[in-house]
Structures are given as C-alpha cells and as structure tokens.
C-alpha cells in the first residue's frame, strides 16, 4: 500500500490512460475494444493496461476467454475523494466560502454585534451579500472590476 497513491497518479498522468479509465467507467471492455480508437499498437495499449493494473485502478478476469478489463471503482473512488479535497473544485469551494463570509456579515448585522475589531459595516460585504442564500448562484459579478 505504501506507494499506491503515487502509482495511481502516475497511471493517470497519461492522457491515453485517462481516456481508457473514462471509457471503462461506463462498461468493461476487452483489450481490442480498448485499443480501437487509438492510433497506437496493440502492444502499446497492453503496456498502458499493465500500468493501470499495477496501480490497482483496473483488473482483468483470469478465467474468461475474453479477459475483459474492469475498472476498480473503490480505488478510483478513493482517488476522487482525495483530489476533491484539493484544487479540483477550488473555485467552487471558495465560492461557498464567499457565501459563508457574506452570511457571517448578515448574521452579525442581525445580532447587532458590536464589531469592535472591524470597522466595516454589514454593507461592506460586497455585492456577493445578496446571494448569500443561494450557494450555487451562477450569476456572480466580476471581482476584478475594470
């Protein structure tokens, strides 16, 4: 287990392998089926598969004639969760933080809190304050201005 994450990431660092994974997320496929869209040799595709297998991302049935390739959802799921915590959704995450910050202003205004350490009133929260109640608002103003 010691280096699984690095292996998974190394496996996914190649666009062809990422594409294979994306296709396998829909359904299992044989090596020939997987190789079809790519302009590379079957041997190259097998090499890619070996890397994916070593990382634990895919497995192959030993007993069947076709030996279809199967995506190991659990490993993939772990990877996803790990990445989610990072920049994959950074902007979405920080837009949720925008909303929480705007809501903090509103809460303080409601509570009539004495902001001794903060001389900005609730009105200073920015135009985002108006969408504090809609966390997934898609109509956000540019913060940059001109």
């Amino acid at each position: 287990m010691s280096d699984q994450l690095s292996k998974v990431f190394a496996a996914l660092s190649d666009p062809t392998r990422r594409d294979m994974v994306a296709r396998l997320s829909v359904a299992d496929a044989t090596v020939n089926e997987l190789a079809e869209p790519y302009e590379v040799s079957l041997q190259a595709v097998s090499k890619h598969l070996k890397v994916l297998e070593d990382s634990g991302l895919v497995s192959r049935t030993r007993d069947a004639q076709r030996r279809p390739v199967h995506l190991e959802d659990n490993v993939f799921d772990l990877m996803t969760k790990w990445i989610e915590r990072y920049q994959q959704l950074a902007e979405q995450r920080y837009q949720r933080l925008d909303d929480v910050l705007a809501q903090m202003d509103a809460d303080e205004a409601l509570a009539g809190a004495d902001e001794a350490t903060d001389d900005s009133g609730p009105g200073a929260a920015s135009a985002n304050g108006s969408d504090a109640t809609s966390p997934h608002s898609t109509n956000r103003r540019s913060r940059k201005g001109a």
Binding site: S13, Q87, E91, Q92, L97
Partner: protein, 165 residues
Amino acid sequence: MTTTDTTADYSTLKLDVPEGVQTVTITRDFAATPDKVFRAHIDPELFVRWCGPDSITNTIREWNATTGGNWSYVSTDDRGEYAFFGSFHEVRKNERIVQTFTFEGFPDAVNLEILTLTDLGDGRTRLQSTSVFDSLESRDGMVASGMEHGIVEGYNKLDHLLTTQ
C-alpha cells in the same frame, strides 16, 4: 482543451503549478476582512458550511484549531464515508494556518498546507494556500488527473483554472 462552463467567476483565482517542484499554490481574493476569512477556517461550524458541496455531509470528529492541535472529519455521500485527518502545526490569528492533511483511504500519503492571509484593505483579503506534496509524481498526477473531462464530476473546472495562471 476548451471549457464550456463559464458561469463561475475565476477572475481572482490563480493556480500555480511550478515545473519540477512538488507544490500547488492557490491564490484567491475575498470580499471580507482577514478576521472573517480566518474564522471561517478555524470555527468548525463555519468550516463545514463551505468545505464540501451540498451532496456531501461533513461531520467533524475532532477539531482543535490551535498550534499543535489536531483535526479530523468524515465526508459522507451516497457512495460511502471518507475520513480525513491531520494536525494544526501552527495557527496564527488572522495571518497564517499550517496544517498536515491525510486521507485515510491513502494512509501513507501526507500533504503539508501553508495558508496565509493578507489584508488588502477595503474589507478585502488575499488568501494564498500552498500544498506541498510528498512526491513530484503525486503532485503531477493529481494536476494531470484534474485536467481531463469526464473522469470525475467537476473536473471541467480545472482546465479553466489552469488557463488563468
């Protein structure tokens, strides 16, 4: 690679992925004072309100946001539970938060996150978060994985982020 999703405003988010260095740095401005941004990171009740999307429920297990303290929470979605834990190496009021980060699904991997807040005046704050990965392969693999559409929901955001560097 082009993005079809232009609804979000990326004008202040900058993602820096320096070549050959195992770090990712995110810089983002907020229309709030450093005090508020700081509180949103260390107050667990505020933190769970923004640390994950609506489809995920985050439950704090431990939360001791002081220098030398620890934290852990569990994210639950319709597929299962995912636990994260780490320590608050340093918590410096309104200025700096240094944390370690481990996902229990990959117990041997650990990240160091260094977050700084800069007061921009006018009730605005610049947040800079640098994640140090434990290998260059991990860093590169994560970034590359995030650039592909269709593998994981939400990835369509990342290439857009990368064009804003």
